[in-house]
Structures are given as structure tokens and as C-alpha cells.
Symmetry: D4
């Protein structure tokens, strides 16, 4: 659950069917104790709500916007068009084309309006959160230690898997 005031990260998604994927983002942010707000906002179906939310984002204290969408995934681009906050796009595999449509519609932005695009699906959703923490850590140095620890844990978990594999192979 996100904290009641001053969330720093907005997690937006184009459809509630994207929730399963975008929950990965929320989970990682919780682990890093970064406050967030999560909303369903469609660039196509509720464009005015998107605009209203994005216009107020900076004054409400948001620092990073994370947007997940599938198909002709315009959400991240539409948000990026209306803010100078960094925008992270998570392409979601919700069509017949394996997410290639969402990836290209998210990443191929024109010069002037970047979207920081991560991998298709859950891996990308997790990485969006980590990337947001890396950005926030430029100011909040307490996050730097957590990120370093997280990185060590990644390596440690690989080592543990290796030990497990070794035992499997020896048995």
C-alpha cells in the first residue's frame, strides 16, 4: 500500500488489465520504501484525466512518472509530452504481436521528448521501479546504499542458485 501523502513516484497504466504487470513496479518500490501512487489512466479513453493528473504532478511532489501500456502504447509518450519530469515506459504484451507493438510505440519517441523505455512485461515493470530509485538517489543519498545492497543481493542470489545447482548435480 502506498503512503497517504507525498508519493514520489506515479505508477500509471492504460488499463486495469495491466495491473498484474504493474504490481511488480509497486512491489519493488515498497521494498525500497519509496512512496508511490498507482492509477489507471488511459491516454485514449480518459485523456483529460491524464492531462489533469500530469499537470499537477510536479506541484504535488511527484519526481518520476512510470507508465505501463500495451498495443499502440501512447500513455508514456502522452505523459512525457506534458511534463519535464522523467518518464519511464513499460511496454506490456497485451496484443497478438508479443509486445513488439507496445515496445516500438513506447521507445521510438521523436527528438525532444524522451521516454526511458524498459523491457516488455514483468521484468520491465520491476526495472522501472529500480530505475526510478536510481533517479531519486541522485538527490536522496539514502537510496544509494539500498541500491548497492540490492545489487549485492542479486549477485548473492545467483551464487545461492549456483550452490543449489551444484548439489543437484552431485546428488
Amino acid at each position: 500500500m502506498s503512503a497517504p501523502k507525498k508519493p514520489q513516484v506515479a505508477i500509471l497504466m492504460g488499463s486495469d488489465s495491466d495491473l498484474e504487470v504493474m504490481n511488480e513496479t509497486a512491489q519493488v518500490l515498497k521494498d525500497f520504501k519509496v512512496l508511490y501512487e498507482m492509477k489507471v489512466l488511459s491516454a485514449h479513453r480518459s485523456p483529460e484525466d491524464v492531462q489533469r493528473f500530469v499537470k499537477q504532478a510536479k506541484s504535488r511532489g511527484f519526481k518520476v512518472m512510470i507508465c505501463g501500456a500495451g498495443g499502440a502504447a501512447h500513455l508514456a509518450g502522452v505523459v512525457a509530452a506534458q511534463t519535464t519530469l522523467p518518464v519511464i515506459g513499460v511496454p506490456i504484451n497485451s496484443s497478438a504481436l508479443g509486445g513488439l507493438d507496445a515496445l516500438l510505440a513506447t521507445v521510438q519517441m521523436p527528438a525532444g521528448i524522451p521516454v526511458a523505455t524498459v523491457a516488455i512485461g514483468k521484468a520491465g515493470a520491476r526495472n522501472a521501479a529500480i530505475l526510478a530509485c536510481q533517479m531519486l538517489s541522485l538527490k536522496e543519498t539514502s537510496l544509494q546504499g539500498k541500491l548497492a545492497k540490492f545489487k549485492q543481493n542479486l549477485a548473492a542470489s545467483i551464487r545461492k542458485k549456483n550452490d543449489h545447482l551444484k548439489k543437484q548435480l552431485q546428488s
Copy 2:
């Protein structure tokens, strides 16, 4: 040149580099004597101008919106999100991916917000104009005759090419 008042078709493009392609749309509309207005409006770089234009489109008398864009081509989708007028999308080949990005970003719209997508590039730009005329002809029956004539001319021009080919082969 578009006529001074009451254009029925808006030709929008995301960048002035799209002008060479979108001029094809304008040329066909001129041939059909359909008034249009042509504008550079970027979903990403001038989103508020897009919104202002689209919000007034219906009351200004526009009947069809044609939008050309390349890369993560969001223009047609963003316009369609803000009007109930039919929106035609022309994917433009302006990136390294041969227009596949623009095609997918234009056509793969979510349920509720259609974009009538045509072929990549100049063929699509011409067809956007013809499709607009077909739509307008549902009300303006004078266009129906022109469309029928246009179709006959297509067949006739193929026949003429055939005669030319025949002569080439015989010589």
C-alpha cells in the same frame, strides 16, 4: 491551396518533414474539390495546440481528421482520443525500421478509440484523402459520382498502361 472558409478535412502532421508525404493527401483532396486545412501539430512537442485544434474541430465544421506521423506515431491516437469525428492515420517511414513502428503505433489502438489506418507513406497519404471523400460522400452525394469516376479512371489508366506495354513488347 485550401479554400479560406469551412474546410471539411483537417490534414495534420507531426513534423514538417512529413510534408512531402502529406502533400499527396492535399493533392487528392484538391482534385476532388474538397476543402481542407493543413497543419503541423505534434502530439509530443505541441500537445496543447493539438488539443485546442481538436476540441474546436467539430464546431469549426471539420468532418474528418487525417493525421500523418512517423516513429512512435501517437498523433492519430491522441486526436482520436479527443473527438468523435472519424480519424484517419497515415504511418510515415521516418525511422530506421521502415515505418513498421509508425504502422503499429497507429493501428493497434485499444477498443473504444478507432484510428482508420492506411498504408505506410505516399500510397497511404493518397488513400487517406480518398477514404475521407468516401466518408463525406455518405452525406454529400455529389462526391459519389466523383468517386465512381475516379475508380473508372484507375481501371482506364491500367488499360492504357497495358496498351503501352503491348506496343513495347511488339516493337
Copy 3:
């Protein structure tokens, strides 16, 4: 069920296996109270039936043709070749290639013969119906109110989902 006389929209599909997808088109048209006729007509297996149907379409009162097909999806193009009515193509994912074949075979029409292509599969099938209503609304102004209402409902449903999400997150 479609009404007995004067349907305005033809829903054609290349195979009865496309029915599950194209029923989405029918359902939306019913919701808009637009009369339609639905038929299986194959550009490849029953070309003469296609031709007969299309040649009479205008005089029978049809205003818009919607064509769903998969694989080397020629139906929309073949219909568009024989009428000046606007033709909407729905690419259907019925092969091993995720509908990319149907999309390209539907959208990449040559200059002169447009097909208004929508998204692959059910989202596209629903959008084909809405696009048809947008076209019809150019003449039948009663549809304009319905389309505006529909658009408001889309935004409202997103808002409702948001409220639901908020409660989920708080619980």
C-alpha cells in the same frame, strides 16, 4: 439480431472461424442501434458471391462495409476494389504469425483503393463498429450524441476502475 430491412453496415468475414471475433463488431452496432447484415464471404473460396454482394451493396442501402479476415487477408481489399463505399478491414490472428500477415495484407493497399484498417483481433472488431458509426454520423446526426455519450462512458469506466483500484490498495 439485425433488423429485417435496410441494414446500413455489412459485416463480412472470410471464414466462419472468424465469427467469434466479428461478433464484437455486431455487438457494438447493436448497442448503437445501427442495423447490419453479417455474412461469411471468402475472397478466395467464393469470389463470385463476394462480387455479387458488393455490386448490389450500394443499391441495397449499405453505407459502410466491414471485412474481417486472417492470413493473406484479401477480403477487404477485394471488396474495396469493387465499391466506392468506405471499407473497414479487421485483421484476424488466425495463423502462426500473430496476425502480422493479416495486418500487412489488409493495410498495405496501393494508391487509389483505401482500406481503413483497425487493430488485430477483438479490439479492432469493436473499433470497426465505432468507426462505422463515426462515418454514418456525418449524415445521421442522432449518432453524434450517442458517440459523445459512448466516449464519456469510456472515461467514466476508467474512473470507476480507478476507484476500485484505490479501494483494493487501501484494503
Copy 4:
């Protein structure tokens, strides 16, 4: 130049811009002394001319139909829908997608209506002619010797290139 009467192979192309590619087909048929007729016939722009030609093809003595087209390449499929003669499709690279659209629109035919598809572009155009000769050779045994000779020449030309390469490397 094709002989004045009883051509056995029809070479059809969707546009006169395809002529440069389809001339390769003609050249190979000339080399095999197989009579052909070459025509521009568009599935989309002159559908009735296509139909008229195809309906008479068998009675006029044609044995094989070769169809070259680009983009949403429907010509071969439309011809195959209207004849029981074997139909060979040559995908032509005339759009921004490197001929992938033409390939998929030609080859992915539904069960019941085959199109014998060859490679994209000039290699495919040459092979369409050889494939036609292979088909004709089932009846006209004189062609079998020519095909065997042609195959030997292919190998011989590779050997000659090898000798040339050897000399280059030694000098």
C-alpha cells in the same frame, strides 16, 4: 517478344512499375522458347479486367498463371480464386517493408486456394519462369531436356566462376 498465338503462360503484374522485375520472368521463358502473354492487371484497380482475363485463360490455352505484385499483394490470390490452373506468385519489394508485406500477402493463402510462391524480387521472377517450365514439362517432354541442360549449365557456371576465382587468388 511473345509469339502471336497460343501463349501457354500468362505473366500478370499489378502495376507497370513491376515491369522491371517481371521482365526477368519473360526473359527466362523466351530462353526456354515458351510462349507467354504479359499484362498489367490490378486486383484492386481493374478487378473486372482481371476477372475477364482469368475466366478466359483456360479456354484461350493458358496452362500456368504467373502474378507479380507488391504491398498488400492480392493479385495472385485473386487469380487463384478464379481458376483451377496453377498460379505462381512473385512478391515484389515496392514498399517500405522490404517486400515482407508482399511475401506474406502472397504465400499465406487459406486451405483450398494455393499460390505457389517464389522469392521476393528478381530471383523469384526468374524462378517463376523455371517453375512454370517444370510444370509444363509434365506434359511437354521436350522441356525436360531443356531443364536438365539448364541445371547442368548452372553447375557449369559455378565451376567457371571458381576457376576465375582461383586465377584471381593466384595472381
Copy 5:
């Protein structure tokens, strides 16, 4: 079951896992009462058996070779390299890439060595048989009537499906 002597069509496949697909070819040939022989022969795992079979194919009375294979599908090309009989290639979807690899490896043959490629999977396997019958019909005129009948049945079956659909919609 194929008849004991003088089969006219060889159905070859690269792996016994392709049997389910290639049985479609066999079934259609049976329906047309065309004798065939079906064999597992791998271009990569049993190249000498392929060569032995192909070298004798003509003298054993074969008229058409049909080759099904997946992945880097070389079988049809390898067979075509060693015979002047027409070779039909059926790309099979047996890898992670949806059969795109098999399609490109089958169809993109160099000038001189055609492979008549049909659709990926079962539709293609059925069409390979029909195409073989069309080729054989150039000599065996009795097949021409069967092919015409088959074509009429395709149209009739579409009409029957239509009647069925009509009843469904009315009920």
C-alpha cells in the same frame, strides 16, 4: 493409404514430428485419388538417403515432390537442387519463431532453383496437395474436372456456413 505402385507425388518431411501436418497433404491427395509415397527424409540427418531418393524419383515415375520442414527448413531446397521435377515446399511451425524461419528458409531460393512455397502449417499442407493436382492436371485432364468440382464445393461450403449463420442470427 498410398497405392502399391507408381505413386506420382512424393510427400517428404524432415522429421516424424511433421507428420501431423503432412497428413493433411496425404488426405487431400487421397480425396483426389492421386497416388503418393510418404517418407521421413532429413536434409541434415540423412542427406544421402535424400539424394538417393531424389535421384531415382523421375525414373520411378514421380511427377511432383512435396517437402515439409521446420526451422532452417532446407529439405525442399536440397531436393530442388537435385531434380528438375517441380518441388513444393511446406514451411512448418516447429520453432519459437512462429514458422517465419521455415518460411524464409523455404521461399528465398536463389535464381535457378525454384521452390513453390505454400502457407505455413496445415493450410499450406492441404494447398500443397491441391497445387500438385493442378500441376498433374496439365497432363491428366481427368483431374481438371475434379479440381473444378473441388472449387465449386469450396464456394458451396461457404454458402452453407452462411445459411447456418443466418439461422443462428435469427434465432
Copy 6:
């Protein structure tokens, strides 16, 4: 030219042939008066130099790493594996596949190690710089004004192009 001490952004590229593209990044950073250091460092050809540079990056005061690479573009991923600083990847179109290889090799990172991927080529290179400024602006609030100004200029330049277009059309 970058300032002599305390650059905040590292611009790394896998090959000096990427310089033309990555100069776009440098130019934008100059415009924003953000100090950078630009280096050729190959994940594959000089892995130890990459490692040495990245290990010292934080203590040397770098805040953001921008990595451009083509083909099997590993540079951004390799850098991201060794730092907790945010890493931006610019896929470069330097192979026969239009940059699709570089895009996928950059963006499809596993959970735990994000790379903020931008568009292929020069548009992406410019956007990498803007994205870096957005990140830096979380701490350096002076950049926020510049970013807002930059955004206004984008819209203004579109408007100017529009005026120019209008004049062209009227003349």
C-alpha cells in the same frame, strides 16, 4: 567541448563509428550547460577499460551514464551491471537489420538491472541527453527552468513551422 573537471554525464560509445550519432547527445548537453565526458569504450573489445571507468564513475562525480552501441549492443547492459547510477542506452543502426538488433539487445534487460532505452539513432541520442537533464534536475533545480524553457521552445518551433507552412500554402 566538455569542461575540464567534474563532468556529471558520461557519454560512452562502443565504436568511433558511433561518434556521429553520439555527438547529438553532446550537443544537447552543451546547450543545457551540463558537463560531460565522452569516451569510446567497447564492452567486447576493451572490457577491462569499461570496468575500470565504470567502477570509478561514482567517485569521480558522474551522475548518469549514457551508452550508445549497435548490433549486439551490450555496452549499456554491461555498464548497468557494474554501477547503481542510472544508465541510458542509445541503440545505433549500424547493421543490416535497421537497428532492431541494437534495440532489443539494449532494452530487453533482465529484472534487477534496468537500462533506460531511448529511440534508435540520432533522435534517441538527443533524447538521452534530455533524459539525463531530467534526472539531474531532481537535484539541480536550476535545470528545471531550462527544461521547461526547452519544452516551450519545442512548441514554439512547431508553431513557427506552421506559420511557414501557412504562407507556403497561400503563396
Copy 7:
């Protein structure tokens, strides 16, 4: 199980979820009685462990490195950057894109640093082992006999499948 000392082949994989695929490599090496060591080592999550392992590989007696990875599959490239031993890359289909990302990220290496890439998934994993044996056989001639025997068995197994098919068809 691999033997306790002097393994000649290292089987590395980027994630323990790749184990099911890479076990195919291990199984084939066991059949050839080639000693191997199998480890989970991630180019992104445990880069230093990768480096440590690869730096010692030659002195520990390894002759060939086999690396399996999915998504932005960098493992094989990162290993190849740090050793002069031959490196074999197995692309694994672990994302939404059917392994195309892993294939391109593995095979499209820059000049100077080859990765010997095999097919996506289990077929590739088995082939990696055979390829390693072929490399080792350049020195260990005892492997040459085994490889010849293995090749004969492949052909024999195809023949057995054929006999089985023949019986099936006759029954």
C-alpha cells in the same frame, strides 16, 4: 553428473530458469563422455563472478565455453570479450518475443569478438554440445570416431522412423 576434475567444457547460463534448456547440453556431453562444469552466472547480476570464472577458465583447463541466455542475452558476448577460448552462444526463448531478442543479442557481435551461435532453445542447446565435441575433436581424435558414429545414428534413426511410418500407412 560431471566428473570431479579437469572439465573441458563450461556450461554457463544467465538464470536458473535456463536450466531445463541447458540440461540438453549437459546430457549430450555426458553421452560423448566429455567432462563439463555447469554454472549459473549472470552477465548482469553477477558480472564479477563471470569475470573471475572466465579469467581462470584457460588455466583450469577449459577448452570451450557454452553460454545460454535469454532476452538481452549478453552472457556469451561478455564471456567472449574476456577469453580467447571459443565461445558458443545458445539463445533462450524466455521473453515475449519468441527468442528473437536473445538470438540477435547473441549473434550480432562486432568484428573481433565472435560468438558461435546455435539455434534458439533445446535444439540449439544440444547442438552446442555437439559443436563443442567437434572443436575438441581437432585435438582429441578419439572424439572423431564418436562423432562419425553419432552422425550414422542420426541417419539410422530417420530410417527407423521411416520404417515405422511405412507400417503405419500400410495398416
Copy 8:
């Protein structure tokens, strides 16, 4: 120029138009002083010459086979089917599809018959030579020193480029 006797590496190419690419392989082998023989041999146009060459390859002293081909690139697979020597495949971009066809036709080999595939085009051709040297170095230890030296030179050349870049930026 290759030495007169006992070449260890065969460089085969499917067409003399591939020579420009495959010369890169030859050049690198010359630099490593590894003897080679270079031949044009087509899997499709001169299959018997391929077979004859491959069958004698081992007894003639060849240790590694390098095969370059474009389109439906079967050469490497056909060679691998007939030898137990390691086979390296170089996909060549000679069709409209950017070499994707050649890549998939080379790499997607079935279990049992590996082809060690390298990058499309000249980078791949150079890497094929280096990979061959790595394989040969398993026996010929003199090559190991050369490979280590070559790797150091790669890093050194990157450093030199860096120095050059630094000077450019300072001037």
C-alpha cells in the same frame, strides 16, 4: 593468397557475389598465417560439387569449414550434414530482407547438426576467421599467443581511438 598445400580452413561461398564479404574471412586468416582454400560452391546450383568437396575435406586435411550464403542460405547446413568437422556459417545480406532470411536459414538448425553462426555480413565474415583460429588453437598452441595478441590489439586500438577523440574534443 592461400598457400599451395594443406590448407586447414575451407572458405566456401554460395555465389561469387559473396566474394566481397568473404574476402574479410580470407584476410583475417592470412593475418593469422592460417592456410585456407576459397571456393564458390552452391548448395542449390552445384550440389554434387559441394558433396564431392565436403566428402574429401577431412582426408585432405581441412579442420574447419566456413560457409557464407545469402537468402535461403542452405550452404552451411548442407555442408554440416555431410561432415563431422565444425562448420561456421556467415549469413550474407543479399536479399530485400536485410539478411534476416540468411540468418534464420543458417542458425535454426535441427538438433544433431550444428552450424556455428556468426553475425550478418562483413563483421561476421571476420569473426568466422577468428572463431576458426580459436578452434584450431585447441591443438596448435602457437595460435593461442596470436589470439591473445590480437585481443590486446583490439583494446589498444580502442584506446588509440579514444586518445584521438580526446584531442578532437579539446581542439
